[in-house]
């Protein structure tokens, strides 16, 4: 019998203080069983996404075959032609190509991304943003009740709050690294829309660009106790001529695998001081409105 999931007490206390204690009917987290049981549900009948999940590391959201048409879920036909005047690749050894349906603005920001020489916001331990948090390799603990979903990313011990019960954010929230999310249910699928980005982040490690116009849609459908089907749809008319999406599968981590603390600054602070990492600064030539 696997042990119940362990969550640090400080985390539990913080969540309870925020009105998000684990629901009484939330099931204990299970390790690998021979057969996955049905997706658990909250007392309101909605699927319960709670659990410690392994989300696939996605350093390149434009990897061949993964860029889909949101309407058909078929791969988009993209040129993938070389970009000889682009900066060196930031992920993988392959040179940058026309791997997404870029606008002129988007292509400029794809070709010129150069974190090593221009300053690296991730190396500077600044927030990765909603997209890159979900793309990171370290797992995410989801905690859910009828009114909200808390995403506790192990990556840099970051969190993201998603109201799902009709709570409204202030309309004049300032732009932010991870944006502001609101969730609603489409049947058994939780649909999370995120806007309000400050425009400083990239979609992934490779550096695929986005603008402040980005509207990110993430969907979560717990198909059984151990599996979530997750989709990411990018809508950003300043950067891309059309919407595109990724589809991924999340797997529940074994009960012995607990969410852990992660402090980027431990080593990177020294590297920033020594100059091994070039500190990031906001761009001086901001070309957005």
């Amino acid at each position: 019998m696997p042990k119940a999931k362990i969550v640090p007490m400080t985390l539990v206390a913080a969540l309870c203080a925020a009105g998000l204690c684990l629901a009484a009917d939330a099931p204990p987290q299970r390790g690998s069983a021979a057969t996955a049981s049905a997706a658990p549900r909250l007392s309101n009948g909605k699927p319960d996404l709670s659990g410690h999940w392994s989300n696939p590391y996605t350093p390149d959201m434009a990897a061949k075959g993964t860029v889909l048409d949101p309407k058909t879920r078929q791969p988009l036909d993209l040129p993938r032609s070389p970009l000889p005047d682009a900066k060196a690749s930031a992920a993988g050894q392959a040179a940058r190509t026309l791997d997404l349906p870029y606008t002129e603005w988007g292509l400029k920001h794809w070709k010129t991304y150069d974190p090593v020489n221009d300053g690296d916001y991730a190396g500077s331990c600044l927030p990765f943003g909603m997209s890159r948090n979900i793309n990171s390799p370290h797992g995410v603990q989801l905690v859910q009740n009828a009114d909200a979903l808390a995403m506790l990313f192990e990556q840099n011990t970051w969190f993201h709050w998603v109201p799902t019960g009709g709570q409204k954010w202030p309309v004049d929230m300032p732009p932010s690294w991870s944006g502001v999310s609101t969730g609603h249910w489409d049947g058994d699928t939780l649909v999370v829309k995120t806007t309000g980005f400050n425009g400083y982040t990239r979609l992934d490690t490779a550096g695929h660009p986005h603008s402040r116009q980005l509207e990110l849609t993430n969907t979560f459908r717990r198909v059984d106790a151990r599996t979530i089907e997750h989709t990411v749809t990018v809508h950003d008319p300043r950067t891309y001529t059309r919407d595109w999406m990724n589809v991924r599968t999340w797997k529940l981590k074994p009960a012995s695998d607990v969410v852990m603390e992660y402090s980027c600054e431990e080593n990177n602070l020294g590297n920033l001081f020594s100059g091994a990492i070039k500190p990031w600064k906001p761009p001086e030539d901001d070309d957005e409105d």
Partner: protein, 135 residues
């Protein structure tokens, strides 16, 4: 250490045997030079079990001279999950390291590294003893 864009990272973690799940956000892209391979045998001074990557300080003595290399390893959380602990290497252990020197000639850092114990076991690579003991 460092941040991620990382043509280096795929090779690094293949070397470390940690797999994709261990790859972090940090970019070692600019730091290490694949044209400066280095192999040395030395004595463990300390293990810095820190995010985003651990460092093992290894002293190499050559006559009266002493050099302390800082050998970069994987992310500590991923290493922990693979059964490695800070005391998997102990002060005074003698190990052999193969890796790449830093591009900066003044840097003591070594990346893309493999650490091998005297008995031939790879340290901080693949599954560690705590994982084996749990299974």
């Amino acid at each position: 250490m460092k941040t991620e864009p990382a043509y280096v990272i795929a090779a690094a973690f293949a070397t470390l045997g940690l797999g994709a799940a261990a790859q972090a956000h940090h970019s070692t892209a600019a730091e290490f030079d694949q044209n400066k391979p280095v192999t040395f045998t030395g004595t463990v001074q300390k293990v810095m079990w820190m995010n985003p990557h651990i460092y093992t300080h290894i002293e190499v003595k050559d006559g009266g001279a002493s050099t302390v290399y800082h050998v970069e390893g994987g992310p500590p959380n991923s290493l922990f999950r693979n059964g490695w602990r800070k005391d998997s290497l102990k002060v005074g252990d003698v190990v052999t390291v193969s890796g790449w020197k830093a591009k900066n000639p003044e840097s003591p850092n070594v990346g893309q590294a493999t650490i091998t114990a005297k008995d031939g076991h790879k340290i901080f690579s693949g599954d560690g003893p705590a994982k084996a003991a749990a299974e």
